[in-house]
């Protein structure tokens, strides 16, 4: 056999003899592909992809029936999980007020609230008025919410515009003249395109005649039965310009509609942050690399055992617990330094404003480093070798980073994954860092994040210590 073949065969033998290497090469990528597929909803049916369940509060201050139509349209949009009520003092649900929504956004309960004001449709002006309150902490999420919100509103807005136009026309030319105009228009439509003139008149008066035909192309509204086939054909030209799911605002209708809707946006949180994306980016990646670094540090216990150093240490008046806690302390210190260095890099590169947040940043960094170190210790404790620990660590760190929101906002993930995210260290750390850097929260405000991370650290260290005892690492 040719020496190259012999050597290739040798390499294959060695490679397949090492289970961790095989795990990293084949199983980890497959697991990650599956996981990211879940995150991005790739296993859903066509047309059902994209994020779901982004919380959107809707505060309805309008008595116009059109407001309910907007809410219904938003409810029909799978991207949003529409919230219109909150629990009242006696446990019953009460409608959300603007103050409720503002407070919830500031407390990071959700990030967007659409306020439908009393002047949604004005008697004196043509067009609609809406307000959006937001905490755009996740830039990708904000862009997506804005886009889908526009699309949803545009698809339900034409009938509201007609309603507004009716009001405005009645105001300008008088109700009798305008009624005559509608009768003539209905007659002409029925004569040229077919249909019942009275039915067409009724729908023109209600302002939803045009909407039904715009809606036909978007699929957002049901097909009109009363206006007839001919009327449907006549509306087809206008419907072609209606925003579609793929192109919500690019076409002409979108441009026109956007000018007709007064959409006031108010950012409630993070107004002073110069680089919003950086707050999440730096926090997310810092935690991910912290996990990698501390896992490596923990798995180096295998090196010490192999070299006999562990034996030498244990032959001194040193207990296994001293070794574990020494390593834990090292991990927390290195983790704290690493996080601080990364945040400083964020300041230098992206202009992150650290000075006002230094205390909560340090406290949360210590908690995050403690949780990450404990996690690394647990991996070392349950693995049979350093290679196995490294393979497991690659899989779990990447998975936790993806699910926990280190790479993109958790709110963009499927609802089930969002629930799983709460079981990751990354989620609590990244949310905490974002709350500090973006929303300027204090130690007291991020206490839940700190407590969860410290709880994870203590619980996981307890399990790791028991596992080390069971697998006789120190014998």
């Amino acid at each position: 056999m040719h020496p190259s073949l012999v050597l290739a065969k040798k390499s294959l033998l060695l490679f397949f003899g090492k289970r961790p290497a095989v795990l990293i090469t084949f199983i980890v990528p497959i697991a990650l592909i599956y996981l990211f597929g879940q995150v991005f909803g790739l296993n859903k049916k066509a047309g059902d992809s994209g994020p779901t369940g982004i919380s959107l509060a809707v505060v309805n201050q309008s008595s116009d029936p059109g407001a309910q139509k907007i809410i219904d349209a938003l409810r029909a949009e799978k991207t949003f999980s529409v919230i219109t009520e909150r629990k009242g003092p006696n446990g019953t649900n009460v409608p959300l007020t603007e103050e409720d929504a503002r407070s919830a956004i500031r407390n990071n309960a959700y990030h967007f609230a659409l306020v439908i004001p009393p002047d949604l449709i004005s008697d004196t002006q043509f067009g609609l008025h809406l307000r959006l309150l937001s905490d755009p902490r996740n830039e990708i999420e904000s862009q997506m919410v804005n886009g889908i919100l526009q699309k949803t509103l545009f698809s339900s807005v034409p009938n509201l515009l007609m309603h507004s136009l009716n009001k405005r026309a009645e105001q300008e030319i008088g109700s009798q003249k305008f009624e005559n105009f509608r009768h003539k228009l209905a007659g002409n439509i029925a004569q040229n395109f077919g249909g019942d003139p009275q039915g067409i008149y009724d729908r023109l008066s209600a302002g939803d005649f045009w909407h039904d035909h715009f809606g036909e192309s978007t699929g957002a509204a049901k097909k009109s039965a009363s206006a007839g086939e001919a009327a449907n054909k006549g509306a087809g030209a206008a419907a072609a310009n209606t925003p579609t799911e793929d192109e919500p605002v690019k076409n002409g209708a979108g441009d026109v509609l956007s000018k007709l809707i007064r959409f006031d946006q108010e950012q409630l949180v993070g107004k002073d942050v110069s680089n919003p994306m950086a707050a999440r980016l730096v926090g997310g990646y810092a935690v991910m690399f912290l996990l990698f670094a501390l896992n490596g540090a923990a798995s180096s216990l295998f090196d010490e055992r192999r070299s006999g150093i562990l034996q030498r240490i244990l032959s001194a008046p040193v207990r296994p617990a001293d070794i574990l806690w020494g390593r834990f302390l090292f991990g927390v210190l290195v983790g704290l330094i690493q996080l601080m260095v990364m945040f400083f890099a964020g300041k230098v590169i992206y202009g992150l404003d650290l000075a006002p947040h230094i205390v909560p940043l340090i406290v949360l960094s210590i908690a995050a480093a403690a949780a990450c170190t404990a996690f690394g210790m647990l991996l070392a404790a349950v693995s049979k070798s350093q290679e196995a620990a490294n393979g497991l660590s690659t899989l779990l760190v990447l998975a936790m980073s993806a699910i926990g929101g280190a790479w993109f906002p958790v709110s963009m993930m499927p609802a089930a994954i969002q629930k799983v995210a709460h079981f990751t260290i990354v989620y609590w750390a990244v949310e905490g860092f974002t709350n500090i850097l973006w929303a300027g929260q204090t130690v007291r405000q991020i206490l839940p994040n700190i407590l969860v991370l410290v709880g994870i650290a203590v619980g996981v260290m307890f399990i790791a210590t028991a596992s080390f005892k069971r697998n006789k690492m120190f014998e």
């Binding site: 192999r306 070299s307 006999g308 150093i309 034996q311 030498r312 240490i313 244990l314 032959s315 001194a316 008046p317 040193v318 014998e475």
Partner: protein, 305 residues
């Protein structure tokens, strides 16, 4: 000084030590001789308090690890089989770490580092990283790191594996000097030459049992022969070899034949046969019986099998 009382240690179904009893006296240089897998390292680990016996007990100065763990550990120094040092740190940094683990104060530690580095002839390399040291230097530092807290008992678990002959001699000299200074040394090895050269008393261990125990003379006296004659294998000696079988034990390996005459067989009988084959006396070497021969006699196997 160190007592092993009826100790048994198992790893699953494997019995590493089987009801071993052993007493080491103060100042002894005790050799634990046996092939790989005999149970030497397990016995050393138990003596160092790194493992606990399944049954029986290990006493240091009459106290067991169960009741006087820290006290026992301060009396024992353990030299692992491998070079158990941080190779990316300097010699002095390593010694500081291991000294501090024994609770040595800074002044005392500084003085002890000077002493052990001097004894290991590494003073001039104190600030160099361990990975830049030769194998022999690393081994010497490996021992030095164990001596910082002035242990009364030094447990050396095959400390010369993979060491060149020159460094090995340096290590032997160092250990003998320590022993002369009053340190009790327990030295495990599978090299009978090391045990013969260094140890005042030797225990031969195999399959977790102590097979023989005593001074070299006492051990060798257990053999059923008093002499060993070795000669090179060649066509001329082949016929002699065949004829010797009835007079004693004949063993050939690596081109050398070793003849161990039965007790009572006179050497003159051997030389008569040699003369008959026209082999000159200078072709023969007389050896004192070795521990290797004793091990073979006791187990039917060579030490390095």
């Amino acid at each position: 000084m160190l007592s092993v009382r009826s100790v048994t240690k198992k790893y699953g179904d494997l019995v590493a030590l089987n009801d071993v009893t052993l007493d080491i006296k103060p100042g002894e240089f005790f050799g634990l001789l046996g092939p790989n897998g005999a149970g030497k390292s397990t016995l050393m680990s138990l003596a160092a308090g790194l493992k606990t016996p399944d049954s029986g007990e290990v006493l240091i100065g009459g106290k067991s690890y169960a009741t006087s763990s820290d006290e026992n550990r301060r009396q024992v120094g353990f030299v692992p089989q491998t070079v158990a040092l941080y190779e990316d740190l300097s010699a002095e940094q390593n010694l500081k770490i291991f000294g501090q683990l024994y609770g040595l104060g800074s002044a005392e530690l500084k003085a002890r580092i000077e002493e052990v580095l001097g004894a290991a002839r590494l003073l001039d390399r104190r600030n160099d990283k361990v990975k830049t040291f030769s194998g022999g230097m690393q081994r010497r530092l490996n021992i030095a790191a164990t001596l910082l807290h002035r242990p009364k008992i030094l447990l050396c678990d095959e400390p010369t594996v993979g060491v060149d002959p020159q460094s090995r001699n340096a290590i032997f000299d160092h250990l003998q000097e320590l022993n002369r200074g009053g340190v009790t040394i327990i030295y495990s090895t599978h090299y009978m030459e090391e045990a013969e050269r260094l140890c005042s008393r030797i225990g031969i261990i195999d399959h977790g049992k102590i097979l023989a125990l005593g001074t070299l003379d006492v051990l060798v006296a257990q053999l059923p022969f008093e002499e060993e004659i070795s000669f090179a294998q060649n066509p001329q000696t082949d016929r002699l070899r065949a004829e010797l079988a009835s007079l004693g034990q004949v063993q050939s390996a690596d081109g050398i034949t070793r003849f161990r005459p039965k007790v009572g067989v006179p050497l003159s009988q051997f030389y008569q046969l040699a003369e008959a084959q026209r082999i000159a006396p200078r072709a023969f070497t007389h050896n004192r019986p070795t521990l290797e021969a004793l091990f073979l006699h006791l187990t039917g196997r060579n030490l390095r099998d």
